[in-house]
Amino acid sequence: MNKKTLETSAPWILLVLTLLIWQGICSFFNVSEFIFPSPYRIAQQTIEFSDVIAAHAWRTYWVTMAGFGLAIVVGVLLGFVIGSSRLAYAAVYPLMTAFNALPKAAFVPILVVWFGIGIGPAILTAFLISFFPIMVNIATGLATLEPELEDVLRVLGAKRWDVLVKVGLPRSMPYFYGSLKVAITLAFVGTTVSEMTAANEGIGYLLISAGSAMQMGLAFSGLVVVGAMAMVMYELFSYVEKHTTAWAHRGTNNE
């Protein structure tokens, strides 16, 4: 096996190994499935309840994507404002940092009061947790613009807006795609956490109800499904990033 194929298959090999060891421990020590279900049992229950899981997963997926979409819009706009004006940067950044330090799960009860049980709190939690990295990355991309590149346009009599559109934005694209990869995984965390207390549908709700019914295999299936969805979305953005901003990754995939 050459180096390249080894690299691409490494995560799968590690996954299989982990599952084997996990299964081995469960079978060998005869661990009760109410404490810690084996991979085999989880797979069994996943198939058994596949309709239910699929319905909840779909709900979690679209709620997350709605929150994430909102996060992209708000994050890009805020990042653009902060990154293009030093005054706005100085004013907004410290407050945003303080806001980001708050645990987003703590917002869920407040959101329930405002929007009731259902998709409202879930979408907003996903949004609150994921817009920050997008905003910071856009702002950083714009604020760290090399003065030389700016001068190239300024000697031509370019306005601030020209500089932002022709140089600032294209230059912050790699930062933007990088932040999407981080933000999408956070958005799934936000949705799931919110659904655990403030929804009657979704993977978060499934986790809580499976747990209280002692269906540990089902609860673990829920976790696996969230993880898988987040991973697929991460890979998708990673692919988009590589194919749209190749100039920033020339070390790895260019001639």
Binding site: L149, R154, V155, L156, G157, K166, V167, N254
Partner: protein
């Protein structure tokens, strides 16, 4: 022309901020400079003597604290639209191909800007032709990182010239290149200038470069940045690279070198 001088600096002083101004600490002092239409001037001096500051004044990126600057009969109040500029670093945008980089000024400067969409094929043709004259034919669709340093600098010069500016400002554009590439680019610049007769202000620390290319060489002193020597280069044109090996050429370079040496010594005495 409304005035005989294309560029006219009258007693120009610049301090970088109000604090330095209050302390009478100027980056450049008492600059007087008259450049004729189509003249090629070079400014040489030790590093840190305010050459780049001088460039910023000429392009309008900085406003003088005292004195007045006129370019093309107009007082300079903001960035000029009739100039093209190339820097020591090529500063090409990495997400644009060479061709798109060269087209950039046409997307910014009027009247090209408003016609960019309709006249794009014509502009592209013009950019290709210009790239061809500097030996970059066939590299139009490459990205900057796929080009060598010398090629990037050629593209950068094309970008400075694509909108047919009346004035070309070059801030040590060949400083980072090897000796052979540098001489090759001297000739390219010489040919472009001979053909189009735009004004050139070349800032450099290479005396041979200044003498080979310019009509007039100004020597600038360090802190305070002032012009201390003005030297007309009366070597016949067109100049060939061979000229750089003639005794006349060498004696001019040697003479200028003497002035720079004197400045450095004087500076050292003041510093102690």
């Amino acid at each position: 022309m409304s005035t005989p001088n294309f560029v006219d600096f009258q007693n120009v002083w610049l301090a970088y901020n109000d604090e330095l101004l209050a302390q009478n600490h100027f980056a450049v002092e008492d600059i007087n400079l008259q450049v004729k239409q189509g003249e090629f001037i070079a400014i040489v001096g030790p590093s840190g003597c305010g050459k780049s500051t001088f460039m910023k004044l000429t392009t309008g990126l900085k406003k003088p604290s005292k004195g007045q600057i006129m370019v093309d009969g107009q007082p300079v109040t903001g960035p000029l639209k009739i100039s093209g500029m190339a820097f020591q670093a090529p500063s090409l945008l990495p997400w644009r191909t060479t061709l798109d980089n060269v087209l950039l000024p046409l997307e910014i400067v009027e009247p090209f800007r408003s016609q960019f969409k309709q006249r794009k094929p014509e502009f592209v043709e013009r950019a290709r032709k210009l790239l061809h004259t500097v030996g970059l034919g066939g590299y139009e669709d490459k990205f900057p990182w796929q080009l060598s340093g010398g090629m990037q600098q050629r593209a950068s010069i094309c970008r400075a010239l694509i909108h047919e500016p009346k004035m070309l400002l070059l801030d040590e554009p060949f400083g980072a290149l090897d000796a052979f590439t540098r001489e090759e680019l001297w000739c390219i610049l010489r040919d472009l200038w001979t053909e189009q007769k735009f004004n050139v202000i070349l800032v450099t620390h290479d005396l041979r470069e200044s003498v080979f290319l310019a009509d007039t060489v100004y020597v600038m002193s360090k802190s305070p940045g002032r012009f201390v020597v003005k030297r007309e280069i009366d070597l016949p044109r067109p100049r060939d690279l061979e000229v750089t090996y003639t005794p006349e050429f060498t004696s001019i370079v040697h003479d200028l070198r003497g002035h720079i040496g004197a400045i450095r010594k004087a500076g050292a005495v003041i510093n102690q």
